[in-house]
Structure formats: structure tokens, C-alpha cells
Subunit: 522 residues, 2 copies
């Protein structure tokens, strides 16, 4: 090091190193006259401020954990400090977090995870053999037989094989492990694929079609990537169905200001809960083929279908059944996760995506991009494995596993119906059937006087409504404006995850609140 030069510069230190083993050079600097004449400095401006920060990040919004959730946290703190409220607890119905709402983990899944975590347990008689078999299979595929090793960036090989086998069973159409990428929850997969897809400037900037209402991950990632958000509206009058003509309109109009080349579908819908018919999926795929749109199918709620006249059809399956011109051409990425379904293992951040017709060059680019973050959490990959490779008839854990799974899904179906029925008894609330997923997204009447009151608080009317609901009842839901809705309509999203008896109380409280709200602002 060129010490002399450093010493010269040192004279400009604002204050020397203090008593903490100060070096000779800085002691010399402290005594230098140059330091004494320098004007006193106050606290300096920050380098990173709202003005200087990344404007795309600044533009990001994510309502599911937005201001209302911060407020919920504050209220919880107040309750803990003994401040009196008209309620004793905050009920977080804002986010699909099943275990937080008391749902018990699936025993088999946790047994396998514990065995993988601490392999000494493999010799314990208190774990079933089928769980040990799964754990051994996973560990053998991990470097050093440890969940603590990095996996391949695409994910552990044998887990990708199990995912492919699961898809093949589900769809009756072969799946290739090479097309499977394990991810850090579905969000990671979705944002990774979008990251690859965004390019161009001005009118040739990539446009991404998303449903309105949407899950706000989409708008957030589009903003981060400075892509162009193109809205297509779901048909509330028709159980939030996707209308292909509306999609066509959106594509057509978007061509004036961007290059629409990505189409995002959420099926079953979030926040809207609709389950797409096969006919509708065919129409969408045809449109994607015709308009050259890259399809993203967010299918994380595929296990969560409650209406008896609805059935989940994967985009992959429908694509293949439409014949080779489609299945050999339409580019599709579909997403699944450990967080939803009957397992609700959100915390492990497990997920996968399957890509169809991805150009081989792009596969290389994708692996490269994923490799920068090294790998998805291996524990989340293991959790994903158990979801796609559950106990089968004849195995020791099959009966308990099936019982636990059915209990969760049966309760969700009950709660979906209960919620729809109860909301529709309230004047000024209309709720479409909750065909699937785990949310109600009722439309609420907000009287003109309440809209005015909201405006005077500089709040969206439904934010105003949800804040009041939170403050008066402790129930935390997310305003529809966080998901997008047709101008002049108002909604909120509420999960149906609280246990049945608690959910009944929640719904009654919302009802009472709503009636009072209508009276107050009549």
C-alpha cells in the first residue's frame, strides 16, 4: 500500500479514531491545523433516499402485507400493552397462512422432514418405515447426504423426477424432469420467468397481461422489471370467469403502447377463487397460440377446488390434448407450491415450475440465472418432494395421511360455502361462489358519504373501509384496490382459513360492522 499518500489524505478526517487503539497517523491528523479550520458539519444527507432510490422499486405495491397489515401489528402491540379495544385479538385474515390460523401440519410430511434434518432419527422406532424410505431417498440425492449442501440450481435430481412423475399421474401426459425447476415458493419461479421475458424499450417494451383482480406479486414484479402491465378484467357478473373476448380486447389495445407477449393466468383464481373450465383454458391457449403470447399458469391452488361442478384442469394437460400444433409450440410455464393446498407449508418456501417448449438456449440462460442465487432452500425442496410423492395405499402412513388431507380440504369446502352464504345475507355485500383457492372477494357497497370521508383521509374508499373494520373488530382483510377492481366497485379479500367456529364469529362481526357502516354513512 502507498502509505504516504494515505497519510496526506488523512488530514481530512472529520474526527479521529478516538480512544479505541488509535493509530499514529490518525493521532497526527487530529492535531493538524487543517482540521481545525474546517467548518463544523451537521448530520449529512443520506445517499439512499426516496428521491435517489430505484424508481421501479419505489413504484412497487404489495397490499397483502401493506399498510393495513402494519396497522394490524400496531394494534396487536397496543393490546399486549393492555390498551382496551372492542376486541381481544387481531385476526389476520389478510394472507393465506394456514398454520398461523391453527391448521396442523401433515404428520407424514413433518416426519420425513425431521428424518432428513437429523438422520440419527432413521434408527428410531418411533418413525414409520415409509417416512424413512422417503427420507433416505432424498438424503441419498443430497451432496454429503445432507440437507445442508447446496443442490443443483435447478433442484435436487430425484425430487425433479418425483415432480415429473406426479405431473404425469395428474395429467395423463408425460412430464420430463429436465423441464422441472424447483423454486423458492412459486413467487420465485414467477418472477424468474418474468425476468427472462422482459426486454425492449418504448412501444416495444414487453407487455404482461394480468387478470384484474390479480395477486399483487404480478404487478409488483412487473413494476420492478419496468415491464408494461396490461390488464384484462375478470367477469364478476359471471363468477369471475375469464372472458376470452376481454382478453382479446386487452391484447389489441396494448399493441398501441407496448409489445404484449406474456399472459398470466391464475387458476384457481386469487383473490377471486374461480376455477376455469376446460373450454375456457382451450380458448386461452388458442389465443396465446394466435397472438404469440408466452403463458404463465399460476396453479398453486390446484388442490383447493370446492364447488362440486368444478374440476381443476392444468394448462399443461389441456395444451397436450389440443394436439401437437399447440403442444409443440405454445410456450408455457406453470407453477405449484408447498404453501397452499392441504399442506399449507408456507414457511419452507418450496415450489416448482414446469416449462414447456422453452427454447434450449433459454434453458441454459435460466439455469445460469438461477445459479447466481445458488439453489432453492433444500428443506423446501424436500417438502415439495413429499407433496408430490405422498404415501400410497398399502404404505403404513397412507391412512393417517389421507385422513389429515381430507380433513383440511373438507373443512375448507365447508368454510367456502359458509362464507358465500353468510356474506350474501348481508345487504350491500355480494359474494360470488368460492369455487376454489382460499379467499372470499366480496363486493361491498360503500355509500357516497363514506367515499367522501375516505377522500378526506386521502385513502381509497375500500382501504378506509378495511381500516375501520380492523379498528372496530380486529379483523384484518385486504382492500380490493390492492388487487385491482373495476372503477367504482369495491371489494376486500378475506381468507377462509380460521377454524369453522371462529370463522362464523368473524363473518358475524363483518356483517354487524357492515350494517353499522352503511347506517353511519347513509
Amino acid at each position: 500500500m502507498q502509505r504516504a499518500a494515505v497519510l496526506v489524505r488523512r488530514g481530512s478526517y472529520p474526527r479521529a479514531a478516538g480512544s479505541w487503539g488509535r493509530s499514529q497517523s490518525s493521532a497526527a491528523a487530529e492535531a493538524s491545523p487543517a482540521l481545525k479550520v474546517r467548518p463544523e458539519r451537521g448530520p449529512r444527507d443520506r445517499i439512499l433516499t426516496l428521491e435517489s432510490m430505484n424508481p421501479q422499486v419505489k413504484a412497487v405495491e404489495y397490499a397483502v402485507r401493506g399498510p393495513i397489515v402494519l396497522k394490524a401489528g400496531e394494534i396487536e402491540m397496543e393490546l399486549q400493552r393492555g390498551i382496551k379495544k372492542p376486541f381481544t385479538e387481531v385476526i389476520r385474515a389478510n394472507i393465506g397462512d394456514a398454520h398461523a390460523m391453527g391448521q396442523q401440519p401433515i404428520t407424514f410430511l413433518r416426519q420425513v422432514m425431521a428424518l432428513c434434518t437429523y438422520p440419527n432419527l432413521l434408527s428410531s422406532p418411533s418413525f414409520p418405515e415409509d417416512a424413512k424410505k422417503r427420507a433416505r431417498r432424498i438424503l441419498q440425492a443430497c451432496g454429503g447426504n445432507s440437507l445442508g449442501s447446496y443442490s443443483a440450481s435447478q433442484g435436487v435430481n430425484c425430487i425433479r423426477e418425483d415432480v415429473a412423475a406426479f405431473i404425469t399421474r395428474r395429467d395423463g401426459v408425460p412430464a420430463d424432469p429436465d423441464n422441472i425447476y424447483l423454486t423458492t415458493g412459486a413467487s420465485d419461479g414467477i418472477s424468474t420467468i418474468l425476468k427472462l421475458l422482459v426486454s425492449g424499450g418504448g412501444k416495444s417494451r414487453t407487455g404482461v397481461l394480468i387478470p384484474i383482480p390479480q395477486y399483487p406479486l404480478y404487478s409488483a414484479v412487473i413494476s420492478e422489471l419496468d415491464a408494461v402491465q396490461v390488464n384484462y378484467y375478470l367477469d364478476e357478473e359471471n363468477c369471475w370467469a375469464l372472458n376470452v373476448n376481454e382478453l382479446r380486447r386487452a391484447v389489441r389495445e396494448a399493441k398501441d403502447y407496448c409489445d404484449p407477449k406474456v399472459l398470466c393466468i391464475i387458476n384457481p383464481g386469487n383473490p377471486t377463487g374461480q376455477v376455469q373450465s376446460r373450454k375456457c383454458i382451450e380458448d386461452v391457449i388458442h389465443l396465446a397460440w394466435e397472438e404469440k403470447l408466452f403463458l404463465l399458469a399460476d396453479e398453486v391452488y390446484q388442490d383447493n377446488v370446492y364447488s362440486l361442478d368444478c374440476k381443476f384442469h392444468s394448462f399443461k394437460k389441456v395444451l397436450y390434448k389440443m394436439g401437437h400444433e399447440y403442444s409443440g409450440n405454445v410456450e408455457l410455464a406453470s407453477f405449484y407450491s408447498t404453501s397452499k393446498g392441504y399442506m399449507g407449508e408456507c414457511g419452507y418456501r418450496g415450489g416448482y415450475m414446469e416449462v414447456i417448449n422453452l427454447h434450449p438456449d433459454i434453458k441454459g440462460q435460466l439455469v445460469k440465472l438461477l445459479s447466481v442465487r445458488l439453489c432453492p432452500p433444500v428443506s423446501g425442496q424436500a417438502a415439495m418432494d413429499i407433496v408430490v410423492n405422498p404415501p400410497v395405499p398399502g404404505e403404513e402412513s397412507f391412512e393417517q395421511f389421507s385422513r389429515e388431507k381430507e380433513l383440511v380440504l373438507g373443512n375448507l369446502a365447508k368454510k367456502a360455502k359458509l362464507t358465500e352464504d353468510l356474506f350474501n345475507q348481508v345487504p350491500g355485500i355480494h359474494c360470488n361462489p368460492l369455487q376454489g383457492a382460499m379467499y372470499a372477494f366480496p363486493r361491498i357497497l360503500i355509500p357516497a358519504k363514506a367515499v367522501e370521508a375516505a377522500q378526506s383521509h386521502k385513502m381509497a374508499p375500500d382501504m378506509f373501509y378495511c381500516m375501520k373494520l380492523l379498528e372496530e373488530t380486529g379483523i384484518c382483510v385486504v382492500p380490493g384496490s390492492g388487487f385491482g377492481q373495476r372503477e367504482g366497485t369495491y371489494h376486500f379479500r378475506m381468507t377462509i382459513l380460521p377454524p369453522v367456529e371462529k370463522l362464523k364469529i368473524v363473518l358475524q362481526k363483518v356483517k354487524d360492522f357492515h350494517i353499522k357502516f352503511l347506517e353511519k354513512y347513509a
Copy 2:
């Protein structure tokens, strides 16, 4: 849905839905004359190609898992298929993946993780009480007492408290849990902070100063974000020390083409292993203060210091010891991880960052940005907790924990010395002392004829060298060009993670290969 319009459009289907429960409308379309006159179509061009993809992602490079690692995978497959090679296994010395190299997990850490995963084990007599105490503390802080719940986006509260207590103990300077953010490995924290910092266009685009050689996460994220990479060269002649004058030169020259406002430091160095002196850190902090640079201190190897005359000093500690004008002004984010140190738990993707002097508005923006991905893996957060809150004297597991920790670190120190000594016995290899981290980054002589041969293969000379090394010995190391190096110099990065006896063999093989290589291209 407006069915009529859909039906009209359906005439343009290229092929109908086939035998799979075909709908009436598509059957009608199949018979339509319009379809028959349409010309036959071949396979269509893909939407997502190298030409159309995000050019910033295309520009990303990540050598640690690059072409050499793909080649290693191919060779492993060939070995499995029984193809004869001059070696029987591939040794992956390309990545700091301790467990994959046979290092055993820390028992206490895995016990706590297993207890958290499957809380039934809390009643098992085969787990120590101190592990149970940790597990209960973590679970009580999780929604529904489950690792399967989402945590707050910033991380589980009590784990952030434990991290703050750890930093306070380490530095003798208070740390605030509000300044701690749990992350998905350190990579996630680094890229998140960089994402916030990048803005501006043309000459005002954010410049990010990184050491050369660097860990290629930095160049990859800079490329992804379309920021400007500004190189400062570490001083190979001086044990890879950071020379502040060189840093000053880099800042000065960068001002001609960008707005240099971020300074990344890796200490201990990766791939270079140097440990910064307190004096050097003071100089860097002063420069950051003077030039208004936001500091990123990558301190993931803080436990990995081997040279007896070196000691790890955190940037946070030095910053605070420099007095309030610095500690109240300089913006700093520092990073730690469960992946390195003595625990080597890469697969859990645990980590944290501490931010100092982050503007309150930006804290809000950071939490918002993190919330889009919901939360870091909760199992990784739990692993991080155990690292920062290990057994203490008097606790049941203290002795075993300390023994295991010392064993790993003692072996690494031995291997650091062994590697340096052996490399320096080879003509044409020069290796600086491995003061810390877990890599050797020796400089290698590549004769002119080998450089020519590399050029004829369109390869960087050190890539050519490393490919030959892999093909002839099965040893996978990463060429220096993947990290950056001074023009005309060549290096490779090799981990020192294989067990001592195996490492000796590896080093001997590299030596033999190198001598043969020099002879061949003399």
C-alpha cells in the same frame, strides 16, 4: 361470456381438440372450410429466444456454476456409465459447499432444527434440554407455533433479537433488532440492497465498486440491474490487500461515466482470502464518508480466519469506533450467512443483514420490497438463530458444540497452510497466504503456446487450463477469469474443503498436472 364471438373466432384453430372430450364448438371448427384452405404450418418460432430475452440477464455471468461445472456433471455421468477415465471420481472444489465435501453438520444445530420441524420430539428423552429450550423459543415466535407459517417479511422477531445480541457481543457496540433483516442466504440480502440503490440513466447511472477479483454474485447482480460495474483491483503483491489509493483511483475515473455511489467489500476475501486490517477498514470507511459511498460489507467468512496475525474486524465495529460523525452518517449494510463459517449449512439458505443509517423511508421501502417474496425460509431463519445463539458454558451441549466447531475450524486452518505451502513448491504457481475464507486463488503461469491453444478453442487461457485439469484429473476448479483478474495474469479458485488426506492427493494431482502442462506447452 359472449359465446357467439368466441365461436366465430374458433374457426381459426389450427387443429381441433382431438379425441379428448372435444367440445361442440371446436368440432364445428374442424369441419369449417376456412380451416382447410389455411396453409400447413411448420414449428413456429419461439417467443422467448436469445434475441428476444432480457439483455441484462443474457449478460449475466456466474462462473462458480458455469461451463466448467456443467462439464464436471457430464464427466460424472460418463463415469457412472462405466466410461474409463484417468480418475474414478470428480472432486468438486469449485464451490464452498462444506457438507458435500464430507464435513459433518453441527449436532446441536440439527437437533434444534429437528425439534422445530417435528415438535412431537420435544417430549423425547434423546434430545438435550438446551436444544429443546432453543426450539421452544423459536416455535413460540412462529405463527401457530409452526415453521410452516410465513414469518414477518423482515424475519421472525425473536431471531432478529438474537442476531442483535450476537452482534452486540461480537462488536461491543449495540445493535438494534429493527436494523436486522433475515435473508435467503447472504446473496439475497446483497441483491436486495443493490436493487434499492440502482437508479439514474446515462452518466448518472449508479456505479457499484467491486473488488477484482470478486465473488461473481456482484457482477451478476450489477448486470441484472443494469448498473455500472466499477472495478478496483486488490493488490496481489501485497497478499491481496485492499489499497485505498487504488479505490480512490477507481472512484475518480468512474465519475466520468457513471455515479459511483456503492462500495462493496468482501472481508475475509472471496476468492482471495485476505483479512483486512483495522487500519484498512478505517481508510475505507473514511473514503466512503468522503466520497458519499453506500457501503456493503460482505462478512460471510467472519468465522474463517486462519493466519495467526490476522483478526476479523467488522465494518460496524470499526465504524462505531471512529466516532459519531462516521457512525451517525455512513450508510452500511453488512451480511452474514449460515452457509460458511464452521456450520456450512448452505442448503438452508439462512442469512441476515444489518443496516446502519438507513433512512427511515428506505426501511419502509425495503420491507415492502421484501414482502413481495413474503419471507425468507423459516427453517433457514431457525438455522441462523442457532448460529447466533449457540450453547453457552454450563449448558448441556456446550462441550460437544465447542468440540465440533473447533474441529472444523482447526482443520480448515491446517488445510489453508498446507495448500499455500504445497502450491508454492510448484514451479509456475504462486499462492498468497490463505488468511481466511475457504479458498486458494493461486496465480498460475500459462505458457504462450497454451494461450495460443486456448485462443484456437475460443477459450480464456485459464478456462482452457481448468478444463484440461478437469478432464485429466477429475478436479473441478473455477478459472480466475470468472472472478476477474489483472490483464495477462491467470488464476483459479479451489476450495480447501476436502478432508485433509484427500486434499493432499488433490494438491499433488494439481502439481503433477501443472508440471506436465508446462512441459507440453513449453
